[in-house]
């Protein structure tokens, strides 16, 4: 019974990720694509959590935290690139 529910949730997540993928391909601006990629990362975390229930294991829990950290850092790096044009400054107070 639980397996059927998890398969249904995985199918819904697949549809959501397809919608986000449409936004990544179609998105008029770069910011749309960055937001869509961030959402795909979050949906991927949900997929890993559902798979770890389905496979009845706890060894994927590190993957969940790791994906969330990587999605956050990647989004911050992209948005800093969009905002400043430079990702890592040498001295942000003086040579901006």
């Amino acid at each position: 019974m639980l397996d059927i529910l998890i398969y249904i949730a995985l199918a819904i997540l697949l549809l959501a990720m397809l919608g986000m993928l449409y936004r990544v391909i179609k998105g008029p601006t770069t910011a749309d694509r960055v937001i869509a990629l961030d959402s795909i990362g979050i949906a991927l975390i949900s997929v890993v959590a559902l798979l770890s229930i389905l496979l009845d294991t706890t060894i994927f829990f590190e993957v969940i935290l790791l994906l969330s950290i990587l999605a956050f850092i990647g989004t911050v790096a992209f948005s800093k690139f969009l905002e400043r044009g430079e990702i890592i400054h040498h001295d942000r107070d003086n040579d901006l």
């Binding site: 060894i59 590190e62 993957v63 935290l65 790791l66 950290i69 990587l70 956050f72 850092i73 911050v76 790096a77 800093k80 400043r84 044009g85 430079e86 990702i87 890592i88 400054h89 040498h90 001295d91 942000r92 107070d93 901006l96």
Partner: protein, 145 residues
Amino acid sequence: MNRKNDQVNDVILQTAAVIIFFIIIMFSINLFFAGHYSPGGGFVGGLMTAAALVLLLLAFDSKTLANVLPFDYRIMTALGLVIAMLTSLHSIFWNRPFLTHAYDKFDLPLLGEQTLHTAIAFDLGVYLVVIGVTMTIIQTIGESE
């Protein structure tokens, strides 16, 4: 895109980055020590520590990071290689083949009886090398004008 005299204010990013930095560091230490019995180890732990440092680089700048954490990452890479080499070499002095590891039970204060294994010292070498190489690459690319 060079905006001169444009005051930037990243107070939300900087406040969040300081808090999240410690969470990522604790997670990387957990990954490093849990590597013997669960997923993780020196490689992923080192990459996560480098990710925490990259988050500080994103929120602040490389000069601030060099002031807060004055490490020379090339020396850190060399130190990791030396640690890995010494933990591999020590078995030669007990007439065992190269890279033979050993373990024993120790009575540690506060922690009680724990089993310590020389694989953790080898893993520490891997950890330092991964941090050093990743940060050297990112700083070398990031600081080019």
